[in-house]
């Protein structure tokens, strides 16, 4: 066992919640056995890691030169520069006159993965504040539009919206506050997504006058101000601010007031713009999950098919944030079964054990 999971030594120091892309790569290496088997094994391991690093990226440069006599000169050079969080040996052994090693490594890639996944977005409490003097029918139209907001926001391709307006705005890490939402969870079947994101805030309706010498121009101005929060850490990570003006009255010297039709309140453009802003903010965020159950059968993660998770995907599980003890601060899990909103995974290494509430990040 020890031989198989030989080392989870860090090739680079430092362990953080890096949000750059993570990728599981495999590599194979062979070295000729010329005397010491141990030396050949080390050389094969180095070769395997080099091979794996090459899958993260190889810079290549070369030239071919032909002169008048037809002589050809060719040169090719490569530069491999990969950064691994760790690796494990999958297979090793002697094959004839050479030693063979294959490894699996978790590497960091510069480019972010911005497609093929949907993060959870909880729409939390949105307070509607109305300035004095705004007619009641305008207020009811605002509320009706707000009720349609989850459906409009849900058309986004990079996040999955759940309507949780009955829950107050998040105040800290959701995974530590589950007891506060248990009642609603049992009553309505909706729980905050501990590995996802949430938006909450205010929608302010005001009346704005823009009169000039001949005309009285009045609009309703609706300002949507939402805070985007990270449910896992509780941190505020962005703002979504959008504004829309709805035509109210247009009168000429106050003469044609009787002909002014009732204002048409349609907030769809407002939420469409908010959706575009959210898409930009969340598209390249890594898909995160929380371990909701950890048992002998495996681990249950809080994401599933609706989030774009597939059988065979790997997640990197952070065990102790901020701790830099080599080999004990992370685990890799592989997805074996997927349901619409949950995934069953198994750990790739026997140790360390994964507790519930640990954070897992999808690697692709």
């Amino acid at each position: 066992m020890r031989r198989v999971f030989l080392s989870c030594a860090f090739l680079v120091a430092g362990f953080s919640f890096a949000q750059a892309g993570l990728k599981v790569v495999t590599g194979e290496g062979r070295a000729a056995v010329a005397g010491s088997v141990d030396a050949a094994r080390k050389a094969a391991l180095a070769e395997a890691l080099y091979d794996a690093a090459g899958k993260l990226g190889v810079k290549l440069r070369g030239f071919s030169h032909v002169d008048a006599s037809g002589a050809l000169r060719e040169e090719t050079s490569t530069l491999v520069d990969g950064r691994f969080k760790g690796y494990q040996i999958l297979r090793e052994g002697r094959e004839g006159a050479s030693f063979f090693v294959s490894v699996e490594a978790v590497g960091e890639v510069e480019q972010e993965v911005c497609s093929g996944k949907r993060v959870d977005l909880n729409l939390r409490e949105v307070l509607v504040r109305v300035a004095p003097g705004v007619p009641g029918h305008v207020l009811s139209a605002m509320n009706e539009s707000l009720a349609r907001a989850p459906a409009l926001l849900g058309e986004g391709g990079t996040f999955r919206v759940t309507d949780q307006r009955f829950l107050g705005r998040p105040r800290g890490a959701e995974r530590l506050r589950a007891s506060e939402t248990d009642y609603y969870a049992q009553l309505l079947g909706e729980t905050p997504s501990p590995g996802g994101y949430s938006i909450s805030g205010t929608m302010v309706v005001e009346r704005e006058r823009r009169d000039n010498l001949v005309a009285n121009v009045t609009d309703f101005v609706v300002t949507l101000n939402l805070k985007l929060r990270d449910n896992f850490s509780g941190a505020q990570i962005g703002d979504v601010v959008q504004r829309i003006a709805i035509r109210d009255r247009r009168t000429l010297f106050g003469l044609d007031e009787a002909f002014t039709p009732a204002p048409v309140v349609n907030l769809e453009p407002l939420f469409t713009k908010a959706r575009a802003q959210l898409e930009a903010a969340l598209a390249c965020k890594p898909l995160r999950a929380v371990v909701v159950e950890a048992g002998a059968r495996g681990l249950v993660l809080s994401v599933g098919q609706e989030h774009g998770v597939e059988v065979g995907d790997y997640f990197l599980v952070y065990l102790q944030s901020g701790r830099q003890t080599p080999g004990s601060a992370w685990q890799i899990v592989r997805i074996d079964e997927v349901t619409p909103d949950k995934a069953l995974a198994r750990a790739m290494k026997a140790t360390p054990t994964i507790p519930t509430n640990a954070l897992a990040v999808l690697m692709r």
């Binding site: 070369g62 008048a68 006159a97």
Partner: protein, 141 residues
């Protein structure tokens, strides 16, 4: 007379609107992968033993295939110089430079081709190739 002129103008105006899809920019999952083959001779490789030479030949063949992939994805800069003095060619050279960044390369096969030659075939998915091409070449100092 006006009608044919108008028709001609319409044809000319729409002629530039034809588009064609660059196969290297396609992200379709069904697009075939980009493949390249490289060869290397065993006997010219450095190494004390036959197996060391063999392993070096494998590496060299793989590198040659990678170079071919880079050329396919990013293209090559070809330059040449020819000088003729008094009707006689004095200098005539051609040079092709390639450079690029490869990601997600998969080994299809590495096998002996003849008694002294190794053959390596590599591939990269069409989507990866398109992504690499979009990112552009790396800039060397």
């Amino acid at each position: 007379m006006k009608k044919p002129v108008l028709a001609l103008l319409c044809v000319l105006a729409t002629a530039g609107c034809a588009t064609h899809e660059d196969p290297l920019l396609t992200t379709s999952a069904s697009a075939p992968p980009l493949r390249a083959i490289g060869y290397a001779t065993v006997s010219v490789q450095p190494g004390r033993t036959a197996s060391q030479k063999q392993l070096n030949a494998i590496r060299a063949a793989r590198l040659a295939a990678m170079r071919d992939l880079v050329e396919k994805i990013y293209g090559a800069d070809v330059s040449g110089r020819s000088s003729v003095i008094e009707g006689r060619i004095v200098v005539d050279t051609a040079r092709a430079d390639v450079e690029g960044m490869l990601r997600g390369v998969r080994v299809v096969r590495i096998q002996p081709f003849q008694s002294d030659v190794y053959e390596a075939e590599l591939e990269v998915s069409a989507a990866e190739a398109a992504a690499m091409r979009r990112l552009g070449r790396p800039h060397y100092q």
